[in-house]
Amino acid sequence: MPGAPVLDEIRIIIEDIGKGAGNEPPSGGDGDKRRRPDPPSPRRYYTGIALGIVSIFMFFMALASAYLVQRSTSERWVPLHVPPILWLNTMVLLASSVTMERARKRLSLADLSGFRALWMVTTVLGLAFLGGQLAAWRLLVAQGIYVATNQGSSFFYIFTAVHGAHLLGGITALIYVYRRNFEAANVSLSTAAEITSYYWHFMDGLWVFLLALLYLGK
C-alpha cells in the first residue's frame, strides 16, 4: 500500500501528542500499579496557556475583522489620528518584554535577586504602559473625541480597553509570580515565569498588531 508510510508517520505524530501521558505500560507485574502516583507534570500549564492564547487570539481577530469590515463598508468613516503618546507606550511595552527575558536569563543562572529586580522592572513597565494608555484616552477626550463620537473612535477605545484588561491579567500574573512562595507550590518558579512570559509576549505582539491596524486604518 503506497500511502502506508505516510499514515504510519501521521500515527506516530498523533501518538506523540502529549508526550509522557499514554506511554506504553510497564511490562512488569502488579508492583507498578500499587505505588503512590507521581505528582502530575506541569505540562498541563503549557498546554493551558497555549490554548488560552489561541482563544484570546480568536477574540481579538473577531474584533479586528469587525474593524476591517466596518472601515471598508461604512460610507462615513471618520479617520482617527492615533495620539503620538502611543508610540512611547509601545516602546515601554516592548522594553518590558526585553527586561522579562533578561529576568528569566538571570533565573536560569540561579541569580534569584537579579531575577526579582528585573521582574519588578517588567511589572513597573507594564503598569507604565497602562498609565500611558490612560493618558492617551485623556488626550483624546481633551480633543473632544469620546467613545461614541464616531466608529473610528469607538474601535479605538474598545481595542485599547480590551487589550488593557488582558494586560492587567498579565500584570496580576507578574505580581503573583513575584510574591508567591514556590517552595510548596505545584510548579517551579522557572515554569511559572516561563508561562507568564508566553502570555506577556503574546500581549506585546498583540498590541503591536492592534496599533498597526489603527494606524494604517486612519
Binding site: 501518538e15 502516583p37 488560552g52 480568536m58
Partner: protein, 562 residues
C-alpha cells in the same frame, strides 16, 4: 522543584459540611452533577415555555392556569422564543453532554484523579449558574433592560464556556494515565476533546460580538444598527450601523455551536451502540477522523447563513459545497453505527433504545439539512417552519436522546442504583413517537408555504395549516406529559438511598467501570490505573466473558480464560 499539586491529584479528605460539599467543591464529579441539575431545571422550564407558545399559537385566547397573569403582552410572547432558545441551547444542549457528563466521566475514562484545573472548573460552573439566573431574570424585566441583562448573561456564559473548554482540552491531552494513547481513547473522550477545542475557538467570537453589542447598548457606540442608537440625537458624523456585521459574527458562532452540542452526543452514541451491540465500533479510525471532520467543517461553514444578506457572489457556492461536504463525515458515522449494529448481540436496554433513537433522528433531521445546505434552494422553497422542524429534530431532540441514553447508561455509576427499565422504555416510546408527531408536520407546513397548491387555493391551504398546527400542539402536550414519567423515574431513583451495586452492570470496557459504584470520592484511590488496549474490545473469543476491560493486564486476561 515540583512537589505536590493542588489540581490533578486525589483530594486528601472529603469536603466538610453541606455548603462545602455542594457549592465550593472542586471535585469534578460534584461539578458534573451540578451541571446536570442545572440542565434538568432548564430543560423543564424550556419545555414549559414551548408548551405555552404552542398553546397560544393555536388558541390565542386560552386561559392557562397560573401563568396567564405573567407577562401577557405581545413583547413578552416574542421573548418566550428567546428564552426557550437560550435555555435549551446554552443550558441544556451545550452544558449537559459536555460540561455535565464530560466533567464527571472524562477524568474517570482517562484514569485521571481530577480535571486539569479544578478551581477554574468551579468558577466556570458558578459563572454558568449566574448566567442561567440572569437569562431567566431578564424575561421578567422591561424589554430594554431585560435585553441588556440577557446579553450580559450570554457574555458571562461565553467566559464560563471558554474556561470549561480550556479545562477539557488540557485534561484530555495531558492527564491521560499510563497506556492511554490517543488511539485507545474511548470515542466519548475524543468527542469531549474536539468539543473543547472547538468551543475555545468559537465562544471567543460570540464574546466579541457581545462586547460590541453591550458597548452599543451601554455607552452608545455604533457597531450595529439598533433602535436605541437611532432614537438618540445622531451627530452628523454618525454612520449607519451594519446589521450584516452582527450576522457574520453571530453565525460564525452559531453554526459551529451546533457541532459543539452535537459532537459529544455523537461520541456518546458510538459508545452506547458498541457496548450494547457487544461489538467493537466498526471502522474506529474512520469514526475518529469523521468526528474531527465534523468539527473542522462545522467551523468553516458559517457563511452559509448569510446568503441572503449580501456576500461576495463567489462565496455562496463555496459555502454550500462546504456545508454539503458535512455529509461525508455524517455518512461515515452512519455507516459505522449500522456496521456496529449489524450481526451484533443487541441488548435493547433503555440506554440502547435512546442511542438507536438518536440514529433515527439524526438521519431524519440530516436529510432535510442536506436540502437546506443548497444556497439556491433553501431560501426560495421553504419557510421558517421547515427550518424549525429541521433543527429541532437533528439538534434539539437528537441531542436530548443522546443525553437521556447517557443518563440511563451512567446512572448506576453516578448514584449506585439503576433507573427503572420498564418506566424508561415507556418514556422512550412515548417520546420517540411524540417528537416525530411534533416536528415532522412542521416540515410539511414549511413546504406548503411556498407550494403551488397553497397559492392556488389559499383558504383551503390556511385551513389545512390550522389543522396541522392543532395536531402539533396536541402532540406537544402529550410528549411533554410523557416527560413526567422520566422525572418520576429519575427523582425517585435519586432520592432512594444509594446501595452499592455491582461495579460493571453493563459489562462495559472503559475505566470508570473498574471502580466501585457509586464512584468513590477519590476515584481510583492510590492505585494508578494502567491501560493495555483499546476501548471497544467486545465479542472477544477465548475469554471468560465476551469483553476485555481496558485496565486488565494481558496476564490477567490469560488467567481468566483458563
Amino acid at each position: 522543584m515540583v512537589t505536590s499539586d493542588s489540581g490533578g491529584t486525589a483530594p486528601e479528605t472529603r469536603a466538610h459540611g453541606f455548603l462545602g460539599r455542594t457549592f465550593c467543591n472542586t471535585d469534578h464529579k460534584v461539578i458534573g452533577l451540578n451541571y446536570l441539575w442545572l440542565a434538568l431545571f432548564s430543560v423543564f422550564l424550556g419545555m414549559g415555555l414551548s408548551l405555552r407558545m404552542r398553546i397560544h399559537l393555536v388558541w390565542p385566547g386560552a386561559h392557562i392556569p397560573f401563568v396567564s397573569g405573567v407577562a401577557n403582552t405581545p413583547e413578552h410572547y416574542a421573548s418566550l422564543t428567546l428564552l426557550h432558545g437560550s435555555l435549551m441551547v446554552f443550558m441544556v444542549l451545550t452544558a449537559a453532554p459536555q460540561a455535565g457528563f464530560g466533567n464527571y466521566f472524562l477524568p474517570l475514562q482517562i484514569g485521571a484523579r481530577e480535571m486539569a484545573f479544578p478551581t477554574l472548573n468551579l468558577l466556570a460552573f458558578w459563572a454558568t449558574a449566574a448566567s442561567l439566573l440572569g437569562i431567566t431574570t431578564a424575561f421578567f424585566l422591561q424589554p430594554e433592560s431585560g435585553l441588556t441583562l440577557w446579553v450580559e448573561s450570554v457574555a458571562l456564559f461565553c467566559v464560563a464556556s471558554l474556561l470549561s473548554a480550556l479545562n477539557f482540552s488540557v485534561t484530555a491531552i495531558d492527564l491521560r494515565t499510563k497506556g492511554m494513547k490517543l488511539p485507545r481513547m474511548p470515542l466519548t473522550v475524543w468527542a469531549w476533546l474536539l468539543t473543547g477545542i472547538l468551543g475555545s475557538l468559537i465562544f471567543s467570537i460570540l464574546f466579541a460580538a457581545c462586547v460590541f453589542l453591550l458597548s452599543d447598548r451601554l455607552v452608545g457606540t455604533y457597531f450595529f444598527n439598533i433602535p436605541q442608537v437611532l432614537a438618540r440625537s445622531i451627530p452628523s458624523s454618525a454612520p449607519q450601523g451594519i446589521p450584516l456585521l452582527w450576522q457574520r459574527l453571530f453565525w460564525f458562532f452559531v453554526q459551529a455551536e451546533v457541532y459543539v452540542a452535537m459532537l459529544p452526543c455523537l461520541g456518546i452514541t458510538c459508545h452506547l451502540l458498541s457496548t450494547f451491540a457487544r461489538k467493537p465500533v466498526w471502522a474506529l479510525r474512520a469514526v475518529v477522523f469523521a468526528l474531527c471532520g465534523v468539527g473542522l467543517f462545522g467551523f468553516c461553514i458559517w457563511g452559509y447563513h448569510t446568503f441572503e444578506s449580501g456576500l461576495n457572489p463567489y462565496a455562496p457556492p463555496v459555502f454550500a459545497t462546504l456545508a454539503e461536504s458535512l455529509g461525508l463525515p455524517a455518512v461515515i458515522l452512519l455507516a459505522s453505527w449500522l456496521g456496529t449494529l449489524w450481526n451484533g448481540k443487541i441488548q435493547l436496554t433503555t440506554a440502547m433504545l435512546f442511542a438507536i433513537g438518536f440514529v433515527s433522528l439524526f438521519i431524519a433531521g440530516g436529510l432535510s439539512g442536506l436540502f437546506l445546505a443548497r444556497h439556491d434552494l433553501g431560501a426560495v422553497a421553504v419557510s421558517d417552519e421547515f427550518i424549525t422542524g429541521h433543527f429541532h429534530l437533528v439538534m434539539g431532540v437528537a441531542a436530548t436522546f443522546a443525553i437521556l441514553g447517557a443518563l440511563f447508561f451512567w446512572f448506576p455509576k453516578m448514584f449506585g442504583r439503576r433507573l427503572s427499565e420498564p418506566l424508561g422504555k415507556l418514556h422512550f416510546w412515548l417520546t420517540f413517537v411524540g417528537v416525530y408527531c411534533v416536528f415532522m408536520p412542521m416540515h410539511w407546513l414549511g413546504l406548503m408555504a411556498h407550494s403551488r397548491v397553497g397559492a392556488g387555493n389559499p383558504v383551503a391551504a390556511a385551513a389545512a395549516g390550522a389543522t396541522v398546527r392543532e395536531f402539533i400542539t396536541g402532540a406537544t402536550i402529550v410528549t411533554i406529559a410523557a416527560q413526567g414519567i422520566f422525572l418520576f423515574n429519575f427523582l425517585s431513583s435519586v432520592w432512594r438511598s444509594a446501595k452499592a451495586i455491582e461495579k460493571n452492570p453493563w459489562r462495559a470496557t472503559t475505566l470508570e467501570w473498574s471502580i466501585a459504584s457509586p464512584t468513590p470520592f477519590d476515584n481510583f484511590g492510590r492505585a494508578e490505573p494502567v491501560v493495555y488496549r483499546g476501548a471497544y474490545e467486545f465479542g472477544v473469543q477465548d475469554v471468560a466473558e465476551d469483553f476485555v476491560p481496558q485496565h486488565l493486564a494481558p496476564e490477567e486476561v490469560a488467567g481468566k480464560a483458563r
